[in-house]
Structure formats: structure tokens, C-alpha cells
Amino acid sequence: MRTRSGIRRIDRIVWSLATVFLAHAAVAAVPPAQAAKPTAYAEECGACHTAYPTRLLRPADWAVVLASLDRHFGVDASLDSTTRAAVATQLGVDPAVSSAATAKAAPRITQQGWFREEHDEVSAQQFRSPAVRSAANCNACHAGADRDQFDEHSVRIPR
């Protein structure tokens, strides 16, 4: 039954299968956020909260944060050593220091003097409202927090 037209039909099927597969592969090959691949810091440290602008803590403080990621403010935020080293470099921390055990409590941005001053008009109640939940949730009030934008024009306390 291998007529000429039969072969042509198989030919067509194979080619259309190949085309579908190619189209599919092309889509799969382009990750959704290909335009600007987030850095290790933005990707790893922005998963559970705002990727805090790195200038808001000193490298020595970031080092303490990185050294205790398995017990990170009540959650497990542990990273494999390669990824942690990449994040450390971005934060200006020596990767070796970032993996050294520490007994120090991890520092908070929200407990720095300047933070309290800038937010002295924000009440504890506003920080804990259901829409905000925590002072560390910068994005709730500063829509541009991930891009280090905190100017007063873009502040909005949700209610």
C-alpha cells in the first residue's frame, strides 16, 4: 500500500510533527524573564520579601545575615555554597566570611536609627495592618522598593 500519495502523506505528517516540535522547543527555550535575568541577590533574596537595596546595611552586617541563612528570622533560607558565594560577592562580602558560623543576631534594616527617624510618623498599627503585615514589607508602601525608590511621592500607606 505504499503509494506515492501515501508516502507524501506520511511525509507531511512527519514534517508537521517536526514543525510543531520545533515551535514548542523555541517557546520552551525562551524563559519568560529573558530580557533582564535577575541577579543572584535579586532572585534569592527577593523571593520572600523585598530585595532590600544593598546599600541599606554594611557589608559586615550582610556577612552576619549570610552566615545564618538556615535560621533566618524564623525561617529556613539556606542556599547551596555556590549560590551563597555569588550573593556574597554582590553584597561586598568575602565568600569565606559568609559561610563562617556566627553567634551574632542578624541585623535588621528596620531597627537602624535612620529607619526609625524616617518612619516616625508611621504608627505600629499601620505597620502591622493586614495589608502591610510587617515593617520589613517595604513594597507594601514603597512600590519601587525593589528598585531602591523611596521618595515621598511614591509612598502610599495601604489601608
Binding site: A28, H49, V75, D76, D80
Partner: protein
């Protein structure tokens, strides 16, 4: 012509997988489970659903990912929005073996106070794959 077309198709099909898929990850965990137990019956969405709602301590998976894994969740402490966990609603989910392992390690520890077994991971993925939008 037919031969050439067939060859092209074979080459394309033989190309290495470009990304992990939820199904390939589930099969991988199921294979691991089978090596430790000969009587392993395969991934169970029902067992995955039970585990997802189990709350031995402060949290269950649903605390941050909501009762409906097709819905947008919220981190219990920080309040940050978390995109839907089910690949049915969020095609970016369960596409990277290392990422999935990282989060299973952290979240099983925070939620259950212990690591999840390979069988439990396969059950959880089966549950997430079967989740229906709005159901």
C-alpha cells in the same frame, strides 16, 4: 524526501530536554521512592492534598500558598505576594529541579519540622498538577 524528514524529526526528538517539567520531576521522585520500597504504589494526589494541609506546628503549606494552589498566596511573616504554586495556573512552576529541591528543603523543614521524603514530594507534585482552577 521521507527519509530526510524522518531524520530531521529524529534529531529534534533526540535533542536533550531543554527544561525540567512537572511530570519529569514527579517521575524522578517516584523512581527514588521505588528504590527504597518495592511496594511503592506511585504518586497519589490525595496523599499530596492531605500533606499540603497538615499543620503539625505553626504553619501548613496552605498558610503561605492558600487552600487553593491555583490562587496567589502570601508569605505568613513578610506579607509578600507569592504567585500560584500549581503549574496549572502558573506555567513557571516546577520547571527547575534544583529550585524545587531548594524550596522543598526549606518549606518542609519550616512547616513539618523535617525533610519531605521522595514519595511525599511526588505526591505533592501530583496534587499540584491535578489542582483545578477555581476548584
Amino acid at each position: 524526501m521521507f527519509r530526510k524528514a524522518l531524520l530531521a524529526a529524529t534529531v529534534l526528538l533526540a535533542a536533550p530536554a531543554l527544561t525540567d517539567t512537572p511530570e519529569s520531576l514527579m517521575r524522578g521522585y517516584a523512581e527514588q521512592a521505588r528504590t527504597t520500597s518495592a511496594s511503592y504504589a506511585g504518586p497519589s494526589p490525595a496523599a499530596g492534598r492531605r500533606l499540603f494541609h497538615q499543620q503539625p506546628r505553626d504553619w501548613s503549606c496552605a498558610t503561605c500558598h492558600t487552600d487553593q494552589p491555583t490562587a496567589t498566596g502570601r508569605h505568613a511573616i513578610t506579607g509578600k505576594a507569592i504567585g500560584p504554586l500549581s503549574p496549572v495556573a502558573n506555567p513557571e512552576r516546577l520547571r527547575d529541579a534544583a529550585k524545587v529541591e531548594k524550596w522543598f528543603k526549606r518549606n518542609c523543614s519550616d512547616t513539618l519540622g523535617r525533610p519531605c521524603t521522595p514519595a511525599e514530594k511526588a505526591d505533592l507534585i501530583a496534587f499540584l498538577l491535578g489542582a483545578r482552577e477555581g476548584a
